[in-house]
Amino acid sequence: MERPLNVKRLVKPYLFLLPSVALIFLFNYYPLFKTFFLGFMLVDVVGNPVEFIGLDNFIAVMQDERFWTAMLNTFKFALITIPATLLISLLLSLLAEKKRRGSSIYQIMFALPMAVSMSSAALIFQLLMNPTLGMFNYLTGLQVNWFGDEKYALTGIAIVAVWMGIGFSFLFLLAALRNVPGDLLESAELDGGGYIQKLWHIKLPLISPTLFFLFTTDLIGSLMVFGPVAVITKGGPMGSTETLIYRMFIVAFENSKYGYGSAIAAVIFVIVMIFTFITFAFEKKGVHYH
C-alpha cells in the first residue's frame, strides 16, 4: 500500500506541470533551436534541411543591402516611436493623475486605444492620413502623401504605432503616479516646491522603474514591428518601410527561402538580446527603486 502512494506523490507535481512544459517546449524552445539550426543549413522550398552550409546564410544576410535598409528602418522607427509614446502618455497621465469629478471619463478616453486592434487602427489611419480623402492633413495643415511618399511613409507608420501604444503606457504611468506617497509631495510643498520641482525631484525619480519598464517593452515591440507595415504599406514605397520582421516574413513565406529567413530570425534574436542586456545594464545606474 505504501509504495504506490509514494510514486503518486512523486509524480503528481510533474503531472501538474506537464501541459505547460510540453507546450512551451514544442512552441518556444524547439522552434528557437531549430531557427538557429536552419540558419546553418541549406533548406529546400518546402522547409526540409538539405545540407550543412556553415555561415553561408548569415554571410548572405550581411551582404544583402535590403537587410541593412530594413535594420536602419527599424531603428529609425524605434527612435521616433519610443520617445513620442513615452512623452505623450506621460503628459496624459499627469493630466489624469488627480482624481477629479469627471476624470474617470477622460481616463477611459486616454486608455481607449488599447482596446483597438492593430488591424482596425491601421485601416482607420490609412484613411485618416490619405492625402486626398483623409482628415489628418486637413486638420494639421500639412500637405504630405504619408504612405505614398518614401520620405514620410516610415514616420506615418510610427504615428500609427504611437497612437496604438499610448493607452497601455498611460495606464502604467497613471498607476505609478498614483502610488507616489502623498506625504513626500506635501513636505516638498512646505519647502516651497512648485509643480515642476515636485515633478522633477519627486515624481519622475519615483516612477522611473515604470518608465524603464515601458522603455524596454516599447524597444522590443519596436524591433519586432510588423502589423501596420503589413496592412498599410507592404514595405513600400521603394522599401522605405520594410522592417526586420517584415523582411524575414517576405523572404521566408513569399520567396520560400526558409534557411535564409531563419538566419534573419536568428540575427533579430541576437539584436533583441543585446538591447535587452544594454537596457538592464543601464537600469542599474539610472533607475531608483524603493
Binding site: S20, L23, L95, S117, M118, L128, L171, A175, S262, V272
Partner: protein, 275 residues
C-alpha cells in the same frame, strides 16, 4: 487663492477633455465615415460626421463579406485559447506554489525564460511544426501556439502564494486531495485574478494578427483581424464599407473594455503584457 485654484481645476478638466477627444478621434472618425456615402466621403473639406447618415455601408459589409463568419472564428479562437491558457497556467502555478518536488526552480525558470523570447521571430519554425502536424488552415493550427502563457502562470503563482496554506491544510484534514482543493476551493477563491486574466487574454487573442494570417489560407478560416484587412469589394478600395466593418469589429472590444475596465487594467498592469 481659492478661486484661482478652482479656475485651475476647470482648466485642467477642459484641457484633459480636449486631449481625450484627440485620442479617441480616430475611432469617432471611423464611426462617422461608416455612415457616409462615397460622394460625401470625397467632399472637401472632409467631414467628421455625415449630413445624412446612411446604413448602406453596413448592408454591404454584411451582405457581400463573410464578416459574421470572421467574428465567429475569432470568438472561437479567443475563447478556446483563453480557456487553454487558464488551464495550463493555473495547473503549473499550483505545482509551483503548493507542491515540493525536485527541479522546482529549474522548471519555474524554464517556463519564465520564454518571456524573453520574442514570439514573432519563431514564426517560421512554428509554421513548419504546424504544417508537419497537418494543421495549416484549421482552428487547431491557429489555437495550438496560444495554449500556454508564462505571464499568466507567473501572475497566478504570485496570487496563489498570497493565499494562506491553512486553507489547504484544513481541506486536506477534511479529506480533500490536491485536485479537489484546486478545483473546488482554490479556483473559486481566485475568481478576481482569473477574470482579469480571462479578459486580458480574450482581448489579446481577439486582436491577434500575424499568426492567424500565416496559418490560414481559405477565406472561411480567417479571423476577423485578418479578414478585415482583406475585404474585397467589386468597386475596389472603398472606405465606407471598410469603416463599417472596422466599426462592427470594434464594438465587441470596446464593450468588453468599458465593462471590464477594472479587471483589464489589473490584468494588464500586473502581467505587463502588451498587444
Amino acid at each position: 487663492m481659492r478661486t484661482k485654484k478652482h479656475a485651475m481645476e476647470i482648466m485642467v478638466n477642459v484641457v484633459s477633455l480636449i486631449a481625450g477627444l484627440l485620442v479617441v478621434f480616430p475611432v469617432l472618425y471611423s464611426l462617422g465615415v461608416s455612415f457616409m456615402s462615397a460622394s460625401e466621403l470625397s467632399s472637401y473639406p472632409p467631414k467628421l460626421f455625415p449630413d445624412h447618415a446612411i446604413w448602406d455601408n453596413y448592408a454591404t459589409v454584411f451582405s457581400s463579406t463573410p464578416v459574421i463568419r470572421f467574428m465567429g472564428n475569432s470568438f472561437l479562437v479567443a475563447a478556446v485559447g483563453t480557456l487553454g491558457r487558464l488551464i495550463t497556467s493555473s495547473l503549473a502555478a499550483y505545482a509551483f506554489s503548493y507542491l515540493e518536488f525536485r527541479g522546482k526552480r529549474f522548471w519555474f525558470l524554464f517556463i519564465l525564460a520564454t518571456m524573453m523570447i520574442p514570439g514573432d521571430m519563431l514564426m517560421i519554425t512554428n509554421y513548419m511544426t504546424i504544417a508537419d502536424m497537418g494543421l495549416i488552415d484549421s482552428y487547431s493550427g491557429i489555437i495550438a501556439v496560444m495554449l500556454v502563457s508564462a505571464t499568466f502562470m507567473f501572475m497566478l503563482r504570485q496570487h496563489f502564494l498570497t493565499i494562506s496554506r491553512d486553507y489547504r491544510d484544513a481541506a486536506f484534514v477534511d479529506g480533500c486531495g490536491d485536485v479537489r482543493f484546486y478545483l473546488q476551493i482554490l479556483l473559486p477563491m481566485s475568481m478576481p485574478v482569473l477574470s482579469s486574466i480571462t479578459i486580458a487574454s480574450f482581448l489579446g487573442l481577439w486582436n491577434a494578427y500575424l499568426w492567424p494570417l500565416l496559418v490560414t489560407n481559405s477565406e472561411s478560416m480567417r479571423t476577423v483581424q485578418v479578414g478585415i484587412t482583406m475585404l474585397q469589394f467589386p468597386e475596389g478600395m472603398v472606405y465606407g464599407p471598410i469603416m463599417a466593418g472596422v466599426t462592427v469589429i470594434l464594438i465587441p472590444s470596446i464593450i468588453v473594455f468599458l465593462i471590464f475596465q477594472k479587471q483589464l487594467v489589473f490584468g494588464v498592469t500586473s502581467g505587463g503584457l502588451k498587444g
